[in-house]
């Protein structure tokens, strides 16, 4: 692995009384594709600007390969940025934009030309090298920005929502390209996005942020399957989230079978958890819509670890590969269910508006997100 590891340690940054970053600590490994994910305004750009050297934290340090880089100006850090708006130089051609860092270093003409062409080739822009940035499409501009940021051979590449200005289909393609590029050059990528699906699909690890705080750091799998907080559960994918109180907790195989009282459901449910929770504790409980089973008829086998509810379909949303149902349970609570359509359905979906249905899930598919009081 090339690239450097980046350590952000206890970093805080306030604008007046507003805390844009609140005691943020992240350790990013060499060569990792690391994403900072969070809603707009949560401090992602602020953190990136601190790493790049355009902003200084009030507290904390940033280490690059173990060395504190905070005293260094931006031009002395082995870090380059792909800006959200690309920030291409409008007065220079594509070629000169990419050559800019080398001209500053007074690289000899022949070396410079070879290298600029190499990087233009890397992003497939040789055909456009004489154009000015304003003559390029959004996707091409983005690739100029990437080539220009990479030609200095940085140890870490920072990308601030590089795809947000592009349309959805192009985004998918460029995301895959970025992933290939990362495999090819092997340096550390720190990728900022507010789009959870982008982050889940390409990252080695993700830090989920909200209101200046890091809520959870983990692989896409960890973050989706075991969210650390209510916010993470709601922000990543879709979910059904309830507050609950622990009624009972007994050892069951190698974990604990927990009974939760959920006022919103008007009953108790079963869920397995690794922690031995004590009776009376308040927790948040989540179950992903795609883990729920929806059937028209009462399921025949109902084991003791199956949670079963009866309800009416309020709103079926068909979207080709899957359908989403808002099911109103008997006590009025609405629960989201997603059903994949793995087989061809000649007759159309078998569940329709106002149908009476049964919604069920196994105790293993629920998840206790966070303990509200400990």
């Amino acid at each position: 692995m090339k690239g450097f590891d980046v350590t952000v340690k206890d970093v805080s940054r306030a604008y007046g009384s507003f805390k844009a970053l609140d005691d943020v600590s992240i350790e990013i490994r060499k060569g990792e594709f690391f994403s900072l994910l969070g809603p707009s305004g949560c401090g992602k750009t602020t953190l990136l600007r601190i790493i790049a050297g355009f902003d200084t934290p009030d507290e904390g340090v940033v280490l690059l390969d173990g060395k504190n880089i905070l005293p260094l100006p931006p031009d002395k850090r082995q870090v380059n940025t792909v800006f959200q708006s690309y920030a291409l130089f409008p007065h220079l051609s594509v070629y000169e934009n990419v050559a800019f860092p080398l001209r500053l270093k007074k690289v000899p003409a022949t070396t410079l030309d070879a290298k600029v062409r190499e990087y233009l080739h890397l992003v497939q822009l040789e055909a456009h090298m004489d154009k000015k940035p304003n003559m390029l499409s959004g996707g091409q501009r983005q690739r100029v920005a990437i080539a220009r940021a990479l030609i200095n051979e940085p140890s870490v590449l920072l990308l601030d929502e590089p795809l947000s200005a592009l349309d959805a289909k192009l985004r998918q393609n460029l995301l895959v390209e970025l992933d290939h590029l990362h495999d090819q050059i092997g340096i550390t990528f720190i990728y900022v996005t507010h789009d959870q699906s982008e982050a889940l699909s390409v990252s080695d690890r993700i830090a989920v942020m909200n209101k200046g705080k890091v809520l959870q750091i983990g692989t896409p799998y960890e973050i989706y399957e075991s969210p650390a907080t209510d916010f993470v559960a709601r922000f990543i994918g879709e979910t059904n989230l309830f507050s609950a109180e622990v009624k009972e907790c007994v050892p069951y195989e190698d974990y604990y079978m927990t009974t939760l009282d959920i006022p919103a459901l008007g009953t108790t449910i079963k869920v397995t958890d690794y922690d031995n929770l004590s009776v009376g504790q308040h927790v948040s409980f989540t179950v992903r819509p795609e883990k729920l089973k929806i059937t028209g008829d009462m399921p025949t086998k109902v084991g003791k670890d199956i949670n079963l509810f009866k309800g009416i379909v309020e709103e079926p949303i068909y979207s080709g590969f899957q359908s989403k149902y808002y099911v109103s349970l008997e006590n009025g609570t609405v629960i989201k269910v997603i059903q994949q359509h793995a087989n061809y359905m000649d007759e159309g979906p078998d569940i329709d508006w106002k149908d009476q249905v049964y919604v069920s899930w196994s105790a293993e598919d629920g998840y206790i997100v966070e303990v509200v009081d400990r």
Partner: protein, 301 residues
């Protein structure tokens, strides 16, 4: 194709309607006086001012007098120097204003002095620079000098006051273009390895070119024709073309010669303006030579 032509022609006709007031204004206040000046420069001088209606090239022959040539070159020198200093000072001012949160306040501070008559403002400089002026008295008070410094009635004083008089004309266009500049480009330059100075020279300046050229035109032209400033704070070494013209009209009463000098001033200024504007226009044309291409192969190509 046809409708396009029609539209173009209609557009042109409308253009004439819209530009009529401007045309009238130009004719009355610019072309007619210019015509009179051209005419007078080819006539014989009257005995007590005015002209006699007799064609002659004598005004132009008189102009090629080494004394006058010296004044012409001196004027070019003083105007160039004053303009350069003005732009160099106006650039950081315009930059600071564009980045400030109090733009309105700064704009007001630049514009408000115009509400005071320019003569009064020049006289204020006499009070500042004269041998018993503020500067000399202050320097004496802190014991840096014992004799007054010759701060006034020389070229230095003229250039100083010219800069003061015309710097707003440079600050305003510079401020407007810098305000439109995307400051993130400077961060991008720093990110790519440029020092602060390099980012200014290689990224800011090329992108605010048009503002710099406007500022050059707005300051060089009035400075080139200035006569009150050299008259009031200048000495023998700062007698400029503007002063020749005024003296030829009011003292020597040689109106044809005054007209000939005015014409030279106008022609030189016009050449300068055209040169600066074409160099800017060709630069712009080069930048915009092709219309934006559609987003056809933005992705994997």
């Amino acid at each position: 194709m046809n409708t396009h032509h029609l539209q173009e022609r209609r557009g042109r006709r409308l253009g004439i309607t819209y530009s009529a007031p401007m045309g009238l204004w130009l004719t009355v206040f610019f072309l007619v006086p210019l015509g009179i000046i051209i005419l007078y420069s080819f006539l014989k001088k009257g005995l007590y001012g005015g002209v006699e209606w007799e064609f002659t090239l004598s005004a132009y022959q008189q102009m090629f007098n080494p004394n006058f040539m010296r004044v012409l070159f001196r004027t070019l020198w003083v105007a160039t120097l004053a303009t350069c200093f003005t732009i160099l000072l106006a650039l950081p001012c315009g930059y600071a204003m564009a980045r400030s949160r109090n733009q309105v306040l700064w704009l007001a501070l630049v514009i408000v002095p115009f509400w005071t008559n320019s003569l009064i403002r020049i006289y204020a400089w006499i009070a500042i620079l004269s041998s018993e002026g503020f500067v000399n008295e202050a320097l004496k008070a802190i014991g840096l000098i014992s004799e007054s410094l010759p701060l006034i009635y020389n070229q230095g004083a003229v250039i100083t006051v010219l800069i003061y008089m015309y710097i707003p004309f440079a600050i305003l266009p510079l401020f407007t273009t810098i305000d439109k500049f995307d400051f993130q480009l400077l961060e991008a330059a720093r990110d790519l390895g440029a020092t602060k100075a390099e980012s200014i020279v290689k990224v800011l300046l090329p992108n605010i070119r048009s503002g710099i050229i406007t500022a050059l035109i707005f300051t060089f032209i009035p400075i080139f024709g200035a006569y009150t400033v050299p008259l009031l704070v200048g000495g023998k070494d700062s007698y400029l073309i503007g002063n020749i013209i005024v003296d030829q009209v009011t003292k020597t009463r040689n109106w044809p010669l005054a007209s000939a000098f005015s014409l030279v001033l106008t022609v030189l200024s016009t050449i300068g303006v055209i040169w600066m504007m074409t160099s800017n226009a060709s630069e712009k044309a080069r930048q915009k030579s092709v219309v934006q291409v559609a987003d056809t192969n933005g992705g994997l190509s």
